[in-house]
């Protein structure tokens, strides 16, 4: 039996298991994405049910190996991030993205700080698209980097620097391809803005969203993200 000490973690998703237990999908600071069984979490003896919620910084300990170790301790490390309105949808989207793209027990060491930074930012910016979208784009890029699927947004396919004034197509497996035509595709400014975290104006935000959606869809294997329906 392997006993872990209390470790920082976030709940990504909770599923009911039997009468009073929960299967908790977690993002641990050192374990990456993992899962644990919270036995009796909804019963009267251990009232973990209301603590084991997404977007709450937790300290957790679990015991045992294999698919589903047993949660043995749960403490709230800090008050939950208050995600309001659309920011809450964004939070659910981020969680779904991690669950869909990351394998269990693959310790992506950079993912936890990135996730915390993203949730922090979602909770602090005003819940409007103009403020929320750049936060999501930055997270998507970092997540892809962490998974070894990083995007080259500063150089085109031939190794030439991206020109902010020209237009490019972006092929997920090849990178940016310069377009002869001045229409269609994505502007070089959007690619560079995405890379630098400085998207300007609704047009660049819209292009960046389309681009990231196209790239993520390839990695998601054609199965759409359910949380996108919330934004419609």
């Amino acid at each position: 039996m392997q006993e872990h000490t209390l470790q920082p973690a976030y709940v990504l998703h909770v599923r009911r298991f039997r009468e009073t237990s929960l299967v908790v999908e977690l993002l641990g600071a050192s374990q990456g994405r993992c899962a644990a069984l919270a036995k009796g979490a909804l019963g009267s003896r251990r009232a973990w049910g209301n603590q084991l919620q997404p977007f709450t910084p937790l300290l957790l300990a679990w015991r045992g190996r294999g698919e589903l170790p047993l949660l043995t301790a749960c403490e709230t490390a800090a008050p939950a991030h208050r995600l309001n309105d659309r920011a809450l949808y964004c939070g659910l989207y981020v969680n779904e993205l991690i669950l869909r793209l990351c394998e269990r027990d693959d310790p992506h060491s950079g993912l936890f700080p990135t996730y915390v930074g993203c949730i922090d930012a979602l909770a602090s910016v005003s819940p409007e698209n103009a403020a929320l979208e750049p936060v999501l784009r930055a997270f998507e890029l970092d997540l892809l980097d962490e998974l070894g699927l990083g995007m080259q947004l500063r150089l085109d396919q031939d190794g030439e620097p991206i020109d902010p004034g020209r237009r490019y197509d972006y092929l997920p497996d090849q990178g940016a391809v310069l377009l002869r035509d001045a229409r269609g595709g994505f502007s070089g400014g959007t690619l560079l803005g995405l890379a630098d975290g400085g998207l300007e104006g609704p047009e660049q935000r819209r292009e960046a969203r389309t681009l990231m959606r196209r790239v993520l869809d390839v990695h998601l294997g054609g199965r759409a993200l359910k949380s996108r329906e919330l934004f419609q």
Binding site: H13, E19, Q53, P79, A80, Y93, K226, L230
Partner: protein
């Protein structure tokens, strides 16, 4: 199925109930057969007709054996207030605990994209039609206080707001008779933020 003994079939069938494992199922089966065959017969009859005849109300989606449930059919209820809940059990709980005299709408779950439940699975379209077509002035959100419940509340609030309805949400905070030091920090923070003038 025919070569499995009837007793085993009964035990297996009982296990479809929540919280009933093989042991409890065996105990129930033996109890019915040894001590209470009359009770078992009654259970079988009622269960068969309940499963056959109870459906969902065409207006509020709660469980009923009629086309329209008792609450929706009652002319005394206030049709300008609509309380949105997740499950039929919530309707029952609110009916017993409060003096609410408006109508209900049962979503049949909560928005949980990670479980594959989006707006389409929850009858949001039916709710929209109801808010558009009827004289609903106020929508009361009575979803759970989990993250999914919050997302559901926000979704309904946006929809109702865009259709010109006033939207309110039931308060959450310190339970009656509860002492502050035993209340978890999240609930306490909510209670504090939602304080009102006395």
């Amino acid at each position: 199925m025919s070569d499995v003994p009837l007793l085993q079939q009964l035990i297996d069938a009982l296990r479809c109930l929540p919280g009933v494992g093989p042991k409890s199922a065996t105990r129930m089966a033996f109890h019915v057969l040894e001590r209470d065959r009359e009770g078992g017969r009654r259970l079988a009859q009622v269960l068969a007709s309940a499963v056959e005849r109870i459906g969902h109300c065409s207006r509020c989606r709660t469980l009923t054996e009629h086309e329209v449930c008792r609450l929706c059919a009652n002319p005394q209820r206030d049709r300008s207030v609509l309380c949105v809940v997740e499950n039929p059990t919530d309707v029952m709980a609110l009916e017993q605990a409060t003096g609410f005299s408006g109508l209900y709408f049962v979503l049949g779950g909560r928005l949980s994209p990670l479980d594959g439940v989006g707006p389409g699975e929850l009858g949001m379209e039916q709710l929209r039609q109801r808010l558009t077509g009827e004289e609903v002035k106020e929508v009361i959100l009575a979803t759970t206080t989990t993250v999914e419940g919050e997302a559901t509340a926000h979704y309904v609030a946006q929809m109702a707001g865009s259709l010109g309805c006033a939207v309110t949400r039931i308060a959450h905070g310190v339970p009656l008779g509860g002492e502050l030091e035993y209340v978890d920090s999240g609930t306490l923070a909510h209670a504090f933020a939602g304080r009102h003038r006395v």
